[in-house]
């Protein structure tokens, strides 16, 4: 069906893909795994016809054909009618439309009759469990909710095959299961899938072959069962082996409370009038790595916004380093609480990488004449492998590099607690090492980390305490091992991390 031969692709430096080959047969469901920066997105962009049609690249050679016809010769409308694409960064393909508009958009553009569009819309919204989001503007949804809407939009158009880049990003375990179920159900209409993701285990129910991308080349696709247990090939590709053993996190000394939240109630309410957060109480102490988990849309983002003061509180108190911070401005709180979002683009606004770090240190300017500040910024960049990029524009960095920049900024800023929201860079070996370096630096200097993630293995590997947010309250707060067995966690119907896997010492 799709054949890519001898593909070499580069962005000016060394080629990202080098004489790569990919053959996708009709009905095949192929998962491509690779470390960040290995070229997964580039490969998928060529497969989906985005490169070079919509995205120009400096270096491109090789052939890509769809049913024997060169992709470049297929008319644009016909091409994107046949191929459904869901990118990793959904903000690149969504704009300010409501949920129904996004899903119906491809059908409306074809001039399909209203009754038919409405029937299909209703079926998809019901099937995806999106009824509660009906009428909401898509850019106001959580990351996981947006992703489900984008998948629904891709399926609405009835493509021949789907190309999905990191589809599990931002999805909680239940949503991942629902996604697999939906793709399985849609197999009659859309039997062919090309997926790039680092979470092979979650996607096992919908794939029949797996290939690893490494050194610019794609390995020969194999049945997943043949390679999942082979730790060596995953590590060679720079990835965490999916069937690895549980690793016990090292214990560390716990110190004074750095952040204390008590009885927090938000003004922000759900459609029914219930506050998003009703009565949230917890504290975070020096040396702790506290993981916060919860369903998509449970209010995790609202919680950190309320802690920073970006969302108004209707009640409750917040103390930072023992001082009541309720009347502090957002900026004053932010000097104690560093926030590293999943999408760093949301908080970047300076014009150079070093400018971002200097701004993190000074909280007022991106330039400094003070050699000590500049040196501190440079040291932070070097610590996270960004030393060679200090004059680059932050918006020109890859998603992974932007994530590392977030760590460098939070580290250099000296905030007491760093809130890390779904650190995607931690899904491969190098990124995980960088995150561990950051956590160690925070702990060693008497600070703490709050880790918000749906990646339960990551939580289990790195956190020293688990908090579960459900129904606007902290439904569980305590040790991890007990947390995975708690009624609150059981109620989520999520699989516990490393179930049936033996432990190994850190």
């Amino acid at each position: 069906m799709l054949d890519i031969d001898n593909l070499t692709l580069g962005f000016g430096g060394a080629p990202v893909l080098c004489e790569a080959r990919l053959t996708l047969l009709r009905g095949q469901r192929l998962l491509v795994c690779g470390a960040a920066g290995s070229g997964k997105t580039s490969l998928l962009s060529v497969a989906a016809g985005l490169i070079p049609r919509l995205v120009a690249v400096p270096e491109l050679s090789g052939n890509a054909t769809l049913d024997g016809q060169p992709l470049g010769s297929v008319a644009r409308q016909a091409l994107f009618r046949r191929i459904g694409f869901i990118g990793q960064n959904l903000e690149d393909q969504l704009w300010d439309l409501c949920v129904e508009d996004v899903i119906a958009f491809p059908l409306e553009n074809r001039g399909i009759a209203r009754s038919e569009i409405r029937a299909r819309l209703e079926r998809l919204i019901t099937g995806f469990g999106l009824s509660a989001l009906s009428g909401r503007r898509v850019l106001t949804l959580s990351g996981g909710e947006r992703r489900m809407v984008a998948v629904a939009a891709a399926l609405a158009a009835g493509p021949d095959f789907l190309v999905m880049d990191e589809p599990t990003t931002g999805l909680d375990p239940a949503a991942r299961r629902r996604l697999c179920h939906i793709l399985d159900q849609a197999a009659q209409e859309v039997p062919t899938l090309l997926i790039a993701d680092q979470d092979a285990v979650s996607l096992l129910p919908v794939i029949d072959s797996l290939a690893l991308l490494q050194g610019g080349k794609l390995s020969t696709p194999q049945p997943p069962a043949d390679c999942l247990e082979n730790h060596a090939i995953w590590e060679e590709a720079g990835l965490l082996p999916p069937m690895r053993r549980r690793r016990l996190a090292p214990a560390s000394a716990i110190g004074r409370p750095l952040l204390a939240v008590s009885g927090l109630v938000t003004r922000l309410a759900r459609a029914g009038g219930d506050p998003v957060l009703k009565d949230v109480t917890f504290d975070i102490r020096a040396g702790e790595v506290v993981a916060l988990i919860g369903r998509n849309g449970a209010g995790k983002t609202t919680l950190f916004k309320a802690m920073l003061g970006l969302t108004k509180a209707a009640g409750g108190t917040i103390a930072l380093d023992g001082a009541a911070a309720d009347r502090w401005t957002v900026a004053a709180r932010a000097r104690k609480l560093a926030y590293i979002p999943q999408n760093m683009r949301h908080i970047l606004f300076n014009m150079s990488v070093i400018g971002e770090v200097i701004f993190a240190i000074t909280a007022s300017t991106a330039r400094s004449a003070d050699p000590a500040i500049v040196e501190k910024a440079r040291a932070a960049l070097a610590r996270y492998d960004l030393g060679s990029l200090e004059e680059a524009n932050p918006f020109a960095l890859s998603v992974r590099q932007q994530g590392l920049l977030g760590l460098a900024c939070a580290d250099a800023a000296g905030a007491l607690v760093a809130i890390i929201d779904e650190p995607l860079l931690a899904r491969d070996l190098h990124g995980r090492a960088m995150l561990e370096r950051f956590i160690a630096a925070m702990r060693d200097t008497g600070r703490a980390v709050m880790l918000i993630s749906h990646d339960l293995e990551l939580v289990d590997d790195l956190a020293s305490r688990l908090m579960l947010l459900d129904q606007g309250r902290i439904a569980y707060d305590g040790p991890l091992a007990e947390g995975w067995r708690s009624p609150a966690f059981t109620a989520l119907s999520w699989p516990a991390p490393y179930a049936d896997m033996p432990e190994e010492a850190a």
């Binding site: 409308q77 001039g111 569009i117 209703e122 009824s131 014009m351």
Partner: protein
């Protein structure tokens, strides 16, 4: 009265032009000011998003228009007692006009404009231009606020400072806003290509469109929620 937000975009547009015409034809400055105040009051009653910000902007606009007209007329030799009503009438007309179009812009989502235009069987190019012209300003305003929140969330004190510093910080948001506007234009263009927006093809819409535009799909079985 927030159901009025769901009025057909073209009905809103016609209403806004009618308000503008009435404002400019108002007999005397007293009637003009009363009309402008009613328009601003209506924005509050209709719970139009961002109305507090609009009111501040309207106050600034009034001050600037009054000052420039007073200066101009005084330089031409008109006494202040005669210049003042002229300046006030001019400011009132502008406030009423901006209030009317602010209502159109803030309550018309790009999706609702697309639907109204598609139902009117307008060419795709006109549909797109209307959606972007009226839709992009609230999007940029939201981005402007998001950048301010990002600055606050990174420790930049932009609230507990004097007005000159606030204005300076607001101006400093111009460059990231420009970057964001380019990104937004790219996302819209990418989305149009990916989802098959064709300038040669007349579109349809999933919404029921009449005097009102359906804001959301009413699903028969709501039991699937979550």
């Amino acid at each position: 009265m927030s159901w009025l937000h769901d009025l057909n975009f073209f009905a809103k547009l016609a209403l806004a032009f009618a308000v503008m015409t009435a404002a400019w034809l108002a007999p005397g400055w007293q009637a003009g000011i009363a009309f402008a105040l009613i328009c601003v009051l209506l924005l509050w009653l209709l719970r139009v998003p961002g109305v507090a910000g609009y009111t501040k902007g309207a106050a600034l606009l009034t001050a600037m228009v009054m000052a420039s007209w007073l200066l101009n007329l005084t330089l031409q030799g008109l006494p202040l007692s005669q210049a003042l009503p002229v300046a006030a009438a001019m400011a009132a007309r502008l406030v009423a006009t901006t209030a009317a179009f602010y209502f159109v812009m803030e309550t018309s989502t790009p999706g609702a404009i697309l639907a109204a235009s598609s139902a009117a069987r307008l060419p795709s190019l006109v549909t797109l231009v209307l959606s972007l012209t009226f839709g992009v300003i609230p999007m940029l305003r939201a981005d402007f606020e998001r950048i301010a929140d990002a600055q606050r969330a990174r420790g930049m004190e932009i609230d507990d400072v004097g007005l000159p510093s606030r204005l300076r910080f607001a101006l400093a948001r111009g460059v990231p806003l420009l970057v964001q506007a380019i990104r937004m234009a790219h996302a819209i263009s990418f989305s149009l290509s990916l989802y098959g927006y064709d300038l040669a093809q007349k579109r349809t819409t999933w919404r029921q469109v009449g005097l009102m535009v359906e804001p959301r799909l009413k699903i028969k079985d709501q039991a699937d929620a979550k």
